[in-house]
Symmetry: C2
Subunit: 213 residues, 2 copies
DNA sequence: CGTCGATCTGAGCGGCGTCAAGATATCTTT
DNA sequence: AAAGATATCTTGACGCCGCTCAGATCGACG
């Protein structure tokens, strides 16, 4: 992003050194992912898409997994931004529901990306730093803090953490299952996938601490 | 299936025709899966494990995905059996919690198998028939019926179905996330993974229809 | 201008999923 | 029991994959 295409060689002549191949590779991977699905996401295909040789990516990523990590990283940032918007746009205890809906809808709008995000997490058996407690602006903190704002007891730490984890797991489960054909008739009956998602979230007793509000 | 090992050749001499290669392949795949993880599960490796050429499986399965489907199928049957046990062993409204715990614990005890089960489902965007409403003895029916037994209104069909779906999604989400290292300190604080699972399930407000009982 | 390090290419390794052709065992018919 | 049909397994090959390494090319810096 900082470096632009060098002009030592013209833009046409494909300079031997790419301006910012790392950036280009991640973008190409995202493009391929959303266009052709996870199965089409090979390192060679990404290199092809970026117009470089199959070995070039190895100067920017240790291996394929590290490239996917970078793609996943951007995914988490997109998700964080989406949830920040959702909270800002809602009011009162509606904010928690809005966060849940935003989470699931993001996953449904970018299913291949969401899959890459969680596959990377599962392989390392840990969530990326962007979603952790310590990270500022993380979705985890956003949910937990919103719970506190709307009546949860901030001194009951274990309860608060369990409630946050429970909400997260529930949203993730719904995110992965909402696309299944078995629920098609239910979505139709409720007037669309978004309504279905909202209805299931409601039935989950999400964010139990807010019930007393 | 029907055929047993023919005795024209002795059991030692590796007859040209395998007795029941289909069965042997599925078993080999399960063995490889649980021993080496999903990444080691190649068609060629399965054939190797079964002592047969790489092309042999194609006389029993259309492609690799169909083999994995067969493995997944067995997984769902194991899960159904596990949940049936869990319900039988519990009493009263404890049964619903027992079902949830059984589901998540199964997934945690067989993480690679559980992953294959859901990957197969996601690729087809539908749950396997064993888990559907129509199928007798399905986990879906078991959960829904147990809800009815413990006070849910069987005439409020939409509500009942939404509640069942919500429970399922929540359990699935927890099943996939319970292994993450971020929750390690929580598991320690609660005295183990099983306690952690039970605590999160409790916080999920699972099976809301039973709350009035 | 020359050197050095970073970047990219080309060739190549072994492994993968899959397929076609041929070999071999079993089943069926006579 | 012989013969043909059928199911099963092997061999060999194709193209794609992730990954490595030697060497070509370029930018920066002395």
């Amino acid at each position: 992003m900082v470096q632009v295409m060098r002009d030592a060689h013209s833009a046409e002549s494909r300079p031997y050194h790419h301006g910012d191949l790392r950036r280009a590779l991640v973008d190409a991977a995202r493009r391929l992912l959303e266009a052709e699905g996870p199965s089409a996401l090979s390192l060679r295909a990404v290199a092809r898409e970026a117009g470089v040789s199959p070995a070039a990516p190895y100067h920017h990523f240790k291996d394929k997994a590290e490239l996917l990590d970078a793609v996943a990283h951007e995914g988490w940032e997109m998700l964080n931004a989406r949830m920040a918007e959702a909270k800002a746009a809602a009011e009162g205890r509606q904010q928690l529901t809005a966060l849940g809906i935003a989470y699931v809808c993001f996953a449904r709008e970018h299913p291949a990306l969401y899959r890459v995000m969680y596959d990377a997490a599962r392989d390392k058996e840990m969530l990326p730093i962007e979603m952790e407690d310590g990270s500022d602006d993380s979705a985890y903190c956003r949910v937990r803090d919103t719970m506190i704002e709307h009546g949860a007891d901030p001194t009951a730490e274990t309860d608060l953490e369990l409630a946050t984890i429970a909400s997260w797991c529930a949203a993730h489960g719904l995110a992965e299952m909402a696309g299944f054909k078995q629920f098609e008739h239910m979505k139709d009956a409720l007037g669309g996938e978004q309504q279905f998602i909202a209805a299931v979230l409601q039935h989950m007793g999400l964010f139990p601490h807010t019930h007393r509000d």
